[in-house]
């Protein structure tokens, strides 16, 4: 590509710096999480816990309620992602039917939704979810972004790449739409399905605005909200106790674990998905 050694060196410097801003803070989070309460309060550059201790995790799980939020988030993530993927696939399937009267209008309505971001309608959204009696339910988190224009368009892009000839013979044999979608489009466009699912898993796992808005029942609290209250030290463990950094960082480590397990399997799809979306424009 480029030839001069100075550009090559500069490239390494840029990438090492950026990767460092990711790896070093993450490393100090882990180091702090495995410190004692006293150790985590020490000033200075603490890159290795001394002594190594599980005190933070112990406090987190035994004295703060961190298991229930995890279970709630898991439920919302799994059910929400499955529903989102199925509905997006339906949408994508309908949009590739070229001879469908009114297809342009349907596509137009779907595109129009892109102009209404959640953050702009927080207050009316709260009012409407109240009208639908969804406040303080985990269902509210599944319903919010049950399907999105972005996912429908991504599905459509992948479905369009399925060769027409493969589907045509099944259609002539009398296969219905549901059968075509289930037996041909979904398996043949599997990378697209996985991409939509991967983005949705990350999205549901990270939900913050919606639970903040819709849920204040402590039984229905989700991971990110629980994490925020630990970080802000609101849920002190007892009256004369306070949450030390080792507990906060242990909470972050625990919240990171599912992502780190999931990431290596999904990375390919997460990256491919964004370039498909990007290149298409």
């Amino acid at each position: 590509m480029l030839r001069s050694p100075s550009i090559r060196i500069l490239s390494y410097v840029i990438l090492l710096f950026l990767a460092g801003t990711m790896i070093i803070p993450l490393w100090t989070v882990v180091a702090t999480a495995f410190s004692t309460k006293f150790g985590s309060l020490q000033a200075g550059i603490n890159l290795w816990p001394n002594p190594i201790s599980f005190e933070g995790f112990d406090t987190l799980f035994r004295r703060l309620n961190f298991v229930l939020p995890f279970a709630n988030t898991l439920y919302v993530t799994v059910v929400g992602t499955v529903a989102h993927v199925l509905l997006s696939a339906l949408g994508g399937y309908v949009l590739i039917q070229e001879d469908l009267p009114g297809r342009k209008i349907i596509a137009g309505v779907i595109l129009l939704t892109l102009t209404i971001p959640t953050q702009v309608i927080l207050v009316p959204l709260f009012v409407v979810f109240k009208q639908f009696m969804l406040l303080n339910t985990l269902l509210s988190l599944i319903v919010s972004e049950l399907v999105s224009a972005f996912s429908i368009l991504l599905m459509k892009t992948y479905f369009e790449q399925v060769p027409k000839s493969m589907v045509e013979s099944a259609r002539i044999d009398g296969a219905g739409h549901v059968k075509l979608l289930k037996d041909f489009y979904l398996p043949l466009a599997l990378p697209g399905v996985v991409t939509v699912a991967a983005f949705q898993i990350v999205h549901k796992y990270n939900l913050f605005i919606e639970p903040l808005l819709f849920i204040n029942d402590p039984q229905k609290i989700t991971l990110q909200i629980a994490l925020q209250s630990v970080i802000q030290g609101e849920s002190s463990t007892s009256t004369n106790d306070f949450i030390a950094p080792n507990v906060t960082m242990a909470a972050i480590v625990v919240a990171l674990v599912p992502l780190l397990i999931f990431y290596p399997f999904m990375q390919k799809y997460l990256i491919r998905g964004l370039t498909v979306g990007g290149v298409k424009e």
Binding site: I24, L90, D99, P124, L146, Q224, L274
Partner: protein, 293 residues
């Protein structure tokens, strides 16, 4: 025509739940927002039509102007830096030859994009705390005398929101740029070599022009996203930084949900929508006409 519509009834049935969903949970709330913005708010909901009064109140509230100003400055910072900075790692990634190392760098810089704002703020609260790594290093080398309290200093509030947003998205944008650069035919760069072009010229005359359409796309996505900044600023908001980073979206939340002033908050929400539609409309027209020329 009627026959074709009848033949496709099943497809309409399949798309119906999706359209119903969008109507009930996007278009209807939007309409509700516009309706509420014309209503006098009572304790149990709207109690009557008052026309433009809420809008008059919105524009006569200094806190709203402050919130609009905060939103615009933060959006400008995120959009400019967030669009241009990722070009560097994208071009840099092209130079890295062992494939495993390239993938490693990609993974490292892309990961923050997948993390929630709660986690990101948590990570940096630790690293940037007054007794944390960055302050310790800066003090150690003698750059500062007293630790900087990055998260509780009005001076640092906006740079922190802008900086962390750019940091979260830099890998995502760099990978979009990288994909565009990889679509460039190697023949063109070889031809430039034969013509004796140096690296600086190759970047300026080949790589950047090739990247231009994608830079415009990223510019538009970033602009739209940054105008609705909520999570990041909300999580970094405290008594000392509130006046710097309370964005319009946060203002509507505080007024509407916490103070239950539905009318004023809905009007402010409509103002935010109109402002962001106007700005993105102008941006879209400007980038499109440039593309045609």
């Amino acid at each position: 025509m009627l026959d074709r519509i009848r033949r496709h009834w099943m497809l309409y049935l399949l798309i119906a739940p999706i359209l119903a969903y969008f109507c009930a949970f996007l278009f209807y709330p939007m309409a509700q927002g516009i309706f509420l913005s014309t209503q006098k708010a009572g304790l149990l909901g709207p109690v009557g039509f008052i026309g433009w009064d809420n809008y008059a109140k919105v524009f006569s509230t200094p806190a709203v102007w402050q919130a609009i100003w905060n939103t615009l400055i933060i959006a400008a910072g995120i959009t400019i830096v967030g669009t241009l900075l990722p070009i560097l790692p994208a071009i840099a990634l092209l130079q890295i030859t062992p494939d495993w190392l390239k993938r490693g760098f990609q993974t490292a810089i892309y990961t923050p994009y997948l993390l929630s704002w709660v986690i990101i703020v948590g990570i940096w609260l630790n690293t940037l705390s007054p007794v944390g790594l960055v302050n310790s290093v800066l003090e150690g080398v003698g750059l500062i005398d007293a630790p900087i309290n990055f998260f509780a200093d009005p001076f640092w509030a906006r740079p922190m929101v802008i900086g962390l947003t750019v940091w979260k998205d830099v890998g995502f944008h760099a990978l979009i740029y990288l994909a565009a650069l990889l679509s460039l035919s190697p023949d063109i760069l070889e031809a430039a070599d034969i013509d004796g072009a140096n690296d600086y010229k190759k970047i300026r005359d080949i790589l950047l022009p090739h990247l231009m359409p994608m830079i415009k796309v990223v510019f538009l996505i970033t602009l739209l996203g940054s105008l609705r900044t909520f999570d990041s600023a909300f999580l970094m908001l405290n008594g000392r930084t509130a006046d710097q980073i309370r964005t319009l979206a946060i203002f509507t939340y505080e007024r509407g949900i916490l103070n239950f002033d539905l009318g004023l908050a809905s009007a402010a929400g409509v103002v935010l929508l109109v402002v962001s539609l106007l700005i993105s409309g102008v941006a879209q027209v400007v980038t499109r006409t440039e593309r045609e020329n």
